[in-house]
Symmetry: C2
Subunit: 203 residues, 2 copies
Amino acid sequence: MSFSINILQGLLQELSGVLPADTAPLFTITRVLKLEEGEVYIREGDLSRKLAFIEKGIMRAYAEKASGDDATLFLRWEGQLIASHDAIIQRQPSRFVYRALEPVTMLEIDYDKMEEVLKDHPEFEPLRNYFLMKMLAEALEGLEGFVFLSPEERYLRLVDSKWGVVNRVPDKYIASMLGVTPVSLSRIRKRLHARGRKPEEGN
Amino acid sequence: MSFSINILQGLLQELSGVLPADTAPLFTITRVLKLEEGEVYIREGDLSRKLAFIEKGIMRAYAEKASGDDATLFLRWEGQLIASHDAIIQRQPSRFVYRALEPVTMLEIDYDKMEEVLKDHPEFEPLRNYFLMKMLAEALEGLEGFVFLSPEERYLRLVDSKWGVVNRVPDKYIASMLGVTPVSLSRIRKRLHARGRKPEEGN
DNA sequence: TTGATTTATTATCATTTGTTAACCCCGTAT
DNA sequence: ATACGGGGTTAACAAATGATAATAAATCAA
C-alpha cells in the first residue's frame, strides 16, 4: 500500500493544481502492478482498457512480424504512460505486444472504471485529459522525429535527452524504435564515435 | 449560417449517441472559417488554441527549414481535425505553419471557450475526448507507418486508402509527408508502374 | 571457470535514397 | 507566339541502408 501511495502521489504531483484536493475516489480505479523482466503485460489480441503510469522500469510495445523478428513501435519509461491504444481508442483487440524490458512498477488505471467515476465526479475530467494529451504529445514527438530527422539525428536526440534509458536497453530495441536495423545503428554509432561524439551523462 | 449548420451537423453526426440532445451551447464556441487556396491558417510562432474540423479541402502542416525548403509534418482533409498541438497541448508558440492547399471550409472550435462551456456543461466532455482521441489516433497511425512500413509501402497504403486525396495534392507534398524526397517518390512510382501497379479508384 | 546463448560489430554486396542538374510538360501571363 | 515558372521525370554519382554471414564481445547459467 505504501507503494501505491508513492506512485499515485508522484502522478498527483504532476497534476497538482488541476485536480481537486480530495483525490480519494481515484484510489477506487487504480492498482499497483509489478512486472518481472521479460513479462508480457498485454498480448496480441487482448482487449485491455487500462492506462498504466510507469513509476520504474521500461516497457516495450512491438508487433510480431511474419518473418519471425519483430518491430518496436515505441519504448516507455519512468513517468510515461503506456496503454493499448487499439483497445482504448478503437475498442479493438491490441495488434501489439506490451512487454517489460526490466522489472517494472506501474500504477494501473482502469479506463472503464475511470469513466464510471467521472460520471459522478466530473471534476476529475482533467485526469483523463492529462492522459490523452500526454499520449498525444508522445506520439507526435515520435512522428516529428521521423519526418524531420535522419536516423542519426533521431539517435542523437534520444541519447542526448535520455541516455539513462538508452544505456539500459539492448541496442537492437533502440534500433527498431528508430526505424533502422541493428546493423545500421551500429554503423551510426561508429560514425559518431569517429567524429569524437561519445555517449556521456544525460538524464 | 446554413453553412455553419451543415458542418456542425456533420460533426454532430459523428458524435451521435455520445453528446446530449441539446447541442445549442456548442454554437457559442464555433465559427465557420473559409480559407483560399494557399492561404496561411497558422503561422510559425502563433499561439492559436483552435480545433478545426475540416469539411472540405486539404490542409498542410509543415516546418520551414533553414535550407529554404520545408518538410511536411502531415496533411489533413475532409472529416479530419487540424490544430496547433504546440499551442493546444503545450501552450507554446506553434513551430509549424498550417496552410490551405485548396479552398478550405472548416468548423473552428475555440478550445479556451470550449473549456469555459465545459465548466458549466460537463455533459459535453465527450466532445473534447473525441477531439483528443481522434488526433491521437491520427498521430499513431502516422507513427506506425514509419515504424512498420517502407516508403513504398507507406505510399501504397496512402494511395489505396486515399487516392482521392493523393490525386489532388502535388506529389512533392506527398513525398514530404512520406518522409522521402520528390525524386525518390518519382522513382517509387516508376517501380510500381513497372510492376503493373496503376493508381485507380479508392476514396 | 567453462560453456552456451545473446548481443554487437564488421565485412561484403545489392538496393535504396539523397543530391544535383538537366530536361520535359503544361498552364499562365505578356 | 513567346517567355516564364511550377511541377514531375530522368540521369549520374555519392552516401546510407538492408540483408546476410562471419566474428567478436558480453551475458548468463551450470
